[in-house]
Symmetry: C2
Subunit: 455 residues, 2 copies
């Protein structure tokens, strides 16, 4: 038979088993934490009619989309989870209860140019809260609490949730007379962290064509934090002059007011007047989450408030707020930066059972006892030498190996070896189950991410 | 703006939120149970190079496949999880530890004609154990234990695991001189349950062209159970006459020997000499799982032993054993037959919190306390009348509603209403947390499937 060289497409993540254990632990954590906030799980098809996915049309999206026909149908792979959500909410509107809260973790597809750390198939992990006609600001205030708990549960310690409000930016720009160039200005001030205030000033004057005075006003506001000034205080100086700005300030105030009650520590949060998150979709609060030790990674969790989720599919006004984690890229950078927790043992079993007699009955019964107690047990009955079987246990990283030889069976016991310490004890199966159960309880709680010691 | 009518493609399952909760509970259960048996989780791309997926080529598969080009690349959506596994094992051979045990739950695609209960996008939930050169028979014996525990954990009670062995069939057919027509004979005897012994006899003689005597020998063997005879005993009469048959009998004997130790009750298991599971892939034990109350559904979990997983991609001999559950179809038929457990409350939250004061601080702090204790809590702060808020709680099926009015805040308490009983108590937040935690413990254990009362 002719052999076809096996390969995986470039831009498609395919992990080795041990790495996959980390990834699964991350998705399990996200499902658990998102669930704590009253979100329904949701799953929608990965293929939609092209006319649905491309309702908005144009731009990068259309170029990157995986589009094809099957029979007479023009189909596309989804490129995000938001457009399918919009379709879902419009289609099933009558059967949903609003505010409708859902999370979805699923693969999306973008035919981007392949490069290191860029994926064509990747997981997004989204939450959204959709109102019917209106949605209270407190939903926007809740999001930082969810972000904080999610990343903390994943095991991340040093991260900053940054928020801003589009109304603040839009109102302020209009107020100082640059409302017509808001987009250009936003793109420029977004670079503040990277290139510094002086270069931003130069760009605002030379490229965007602002007066030195206007540029100074902008810099004065967005760099208030460098002077140790609270952004809300700095904004206060402009209050009462533009209704949109006032609304933005008031929203920003509510969103920051309950941080403590939402469980977000002060040092994990900041108002950052430079973030804007794209130009046309978000209308209120916007969120980014960054790692202070790795600014080059950019935001690992972003989102915001929007006023019209599903305008392409329904006349109903469906405002919402949502965030998205690009899980595949996040996993890639965390692994790349040594953030995978070495304390997590990515073993597929807690116990490897090695029967040493012809009659496998007692060994199998012990395996069943372990599994009934929620302990992950694997039987190893291959015809191999003892040394090879121990090497197998080593390679899998199994924490315990149980032997059942004639001695053990005669005395109704099992020998259990702790692979980390080398300690070996002979006990009854029931005692072995209880002992192992107790010890693995802690290991179940080990988070998938652990920050490298150098930090 | 022009409105595009939202729709979901036919043949693509898209569940309402409450139904999705059941589905998620099923996949969570599968992950948990598969994990107990020492399987690594695995995830492979949904898109592969067409040359990889179609290495085997021809037949129904090629017609049904979703195939397209992106740039210059000829791509296909996977149509099962076995071919990607074969590629994975061949590609990463050097980095895997054998026997390699993995489970995978993922979507696959087949462009079948759309009809009720047939899906073009559907989940498969597979486990496989792959050996390097050889794989002990005990792995085949373990599979019924996994099937039993999986469906029991899902909440199913009445199901039968049927096994057979291809060597038994092949050896027996050769022995009685119909080895060259084994395929035709298997397809015919497979109909025994449906059309009965007399019609099978007629078909074997008139269509397959067997002599009356040969047809009788076959019927005598496969209907042994109707006479109350153990299939292993019936097979015993042919022992020592064909080496393949002898091997099959010996394997069947091992696979049935440890059923009790593997935790499989006698009444959930049978040797069924009529099942064959396709013609060229399986080489030893084969499995089917059926619902005695719904024979029309066919097998809900099938698989078997194969000798050569990845022959298209590598020269190495990689024998294995695996089973697959077609999860989307299974969910469809279970829902259709009223098997979704009414005792499971598909609510997105355990507690809905209704703040009754302007200051939301205490309500938010209470929500955070609940979440930190692992209780799913949702804040409801929309500007609605009290009655509407209670209707919202009702529609979501939330078991508890907590009120925080001025009275409660002044006395440092919360009012908790049990929505099922109508009972309402005022307690400290800590006591509310403890009480709810205790009560929801049981609800977490409710399985997604419950058999309709009529059975």
């Amino acid at each position: 038979m002719e052999i076809i060289r096996p390969r995986t497409l470039s831009g498609f993540m395919e992990l080795l088993p041990e790495k996959q254990v980390y990834f699964e632990k991350m998705t399990a954590t996200l499902r658990e934490i998102y669930g704590l906030y009253g979100f329904f799980p949701l799953d929608t098809p990965q293929i939609e009619a092209s006319e649905i996915l491309l309702a908005k049309g144009g731009g990068e999206t259309e170029k990157q989309i995986y589009r094809f026909t099957k029979g007479d149908t023009d189909l596309s792979l989804r490129f995000d989870l938001t457009v399918p959500l919009a379709k879902y909410v419009a289609l099933h509107y009558g059967q949903l209860t609003f505010p409708f809260r859902r999370f979805q973790i699923g693969k999306v597809y973008r035919g981007e140019r392949a490069q290191r750390g860029r994926f064509r198939e990747f997981y997004q992990a989204d939450i959204d809260i959709i109102g019917d006609g209106s949605l209270d600001i407190i939903n926007e205030a809740e999001i930082p609490g969810i972000i904080y708990k999610t990343f903390s549960a994943l095991g991340l310690k040093r991260f900053i949730i940054r928020i801003n409000n589009r109304k603040v930016l839009n109102g302020f720009f209009r107020l100082i007379g640059v409302g017509d160039r808001a987009g250009d200005v936003m793109r420029t001030i977004d670079k503040l962290d990277k290139i510094g205030a002086d270069k931003v000033r130069t760009l605002l004057i030379e490229e965007t064509g602002l007066s030195a005075d206007t540029a100074e006003k902008i810099l004065d506001l967005i760099s208030c934090r460098d002077r140790g000034e609270d952004p809300l205080e700095a904004l206060g100086r402009y209050q009462g002059q533009d209704p949109t700005l006032d609304e933005g300030i008031s929203e920003l105030t509510v969103v920051t007011r309950y941080l403590e009650q939402f469980g977000v520590p002060q040092d994990h949060f900041m108002i950052d007047l430079t973030i804007a998150r794209g130009l046309d979709y978000y209308t209120g609060t916007v969120y980014e989450t960054t790692l202070p030790d790795h600014p080059e990674i950019g935001s690992i969790c972003s989102g915001g408030r929007y006023d019209d989720l599903a305008g392409y599919y329904t006349d109903r006004r469906l405002p919402g707020v949502g965030i998205s984690i690009g899980l595949t890229r996040l996993f890639f950078v965390l692994e790349d930066q040594n953030y995978l927790n070495p304390a997590l043992t990515p073993s597929p079993a807690d116990v490897l059972i090695l029967p040493m007699t012809e009659d496998l009955g007692p060994a199998i019964a012990f395996a069943t006892e372990l599994r009934n107690a929620g302990i992950r047990a694997q039987l190893h009955c291959e015809k191999k030498k003892f040394k090879q079987k121990m090497a197998y246990a080593d390679r899998l990283g199994v924490p315990y190996v149980a032997f059942l030889g004639e001695d053990e069976i005669r005395s109704g016991r099992v020998t259990v070896k702790n692979m980390a310490t080398g300690e070996q004890i002979q006990v009854s199966p029931a005692m072995a189950v209880a002992g192992i159960q107790e010890k693995i309880k802690e290991t179940r709680l080990v988070p998938p991410i652990g920050e490298p010691a150098k930090h």
